[in-house]
Symmetry: C2
Subunit: 117 residues, 2 copies
DNA sequence: TTTTTATGTTACCTTTTAGTTACATAATAA
DNA sequence: TTATTATGTAACTAAAAGGTAACATAAAAA
């Protein structure tokens, strides 16, 4: 019953994993660097979170000697957006205007113009 | 540790709940109508999913006699998009171009232009 | 060579989640 | 009034998720 977006949604549903993805913005990080971002959590717990992200392709890891360099791959996030989130933009627009139903001909709202209502 | 987006992400992490939200697009539905969409699942299981959606504000319910009319509220989805997903659009763009890092001065990509790459 | 360090693995525990059956209530229809 | 039906609640189970401590390995540094 679970569609192919499901593993990505599941991976994103944990706050620690979202923080890891935030941390990987900008540049790749060693596994140990990621671990050190979460001093209140065991190393293994953090590594398992990274594993989950790697399994769904949100993190790509390459090995260099004994180091493992983890980088962000945001393409699955884009997939979530395009295939599931974006179609709802029609409906969040109507909510703001107090309109109940959406005309079929209405164009999708440009989300960049809605930053601060 | 969990931010305020966390309950929304958690609510969206279940495939059945996402299907319910999809079903509520267009027009509101009675609780029983939602239940009938999932004949392989018990009525109570579906109702609990609706409860979860209602708790995070993704579904709004009003009572009319013994009927309960449930409608979609996409504003929390918008919040997820603006506060968490959209900032990653810089990075999925670079992935497509094979570029490793993003310039600080680059403007956010307009997601509406990325519908069909 | 010996030690350090970056990373991986095994085994286990606890809480949460998703699901079930069975029972209860209250508004409408017959 | 009686029966039906739309919805809600109680109590429980099974599996998945998130976490820990302890042990293992292999590359690099001393």
């Amino acid at each position: 019953m679970a569609d192919d977006l499901d593993p990505i949604f599941k991976a994103l549903s944990d706050s620690t994993r979202r923080q890891i993805l935030d941390y990987l913005k900008g540049h790749p990080r060693l596994t140990g660097e990621i671990v050190n971002q979460f001093p209140e959590m065991s190393r293994f717990a953090v590594m398992k979170h990274v594993d989950v992200l790697r399994e769904v392709g949100l993190v790509v890891t390459r090995t260099n000697g004994r180091e493992r360099i983890n980088s962000l791959n945001a393409v699955p996030i884009r997939l979530i957006y395009e295939r599931w989130l974006h179609p709802f933009s029609d409906y969040w627009a109507t909510a703001l205007l107090g309109i109940k139903q959406v005309s079929e001909t209405e164009l999708p709202t440009d989300p960049t113009t809605l930053k601060e209502p």
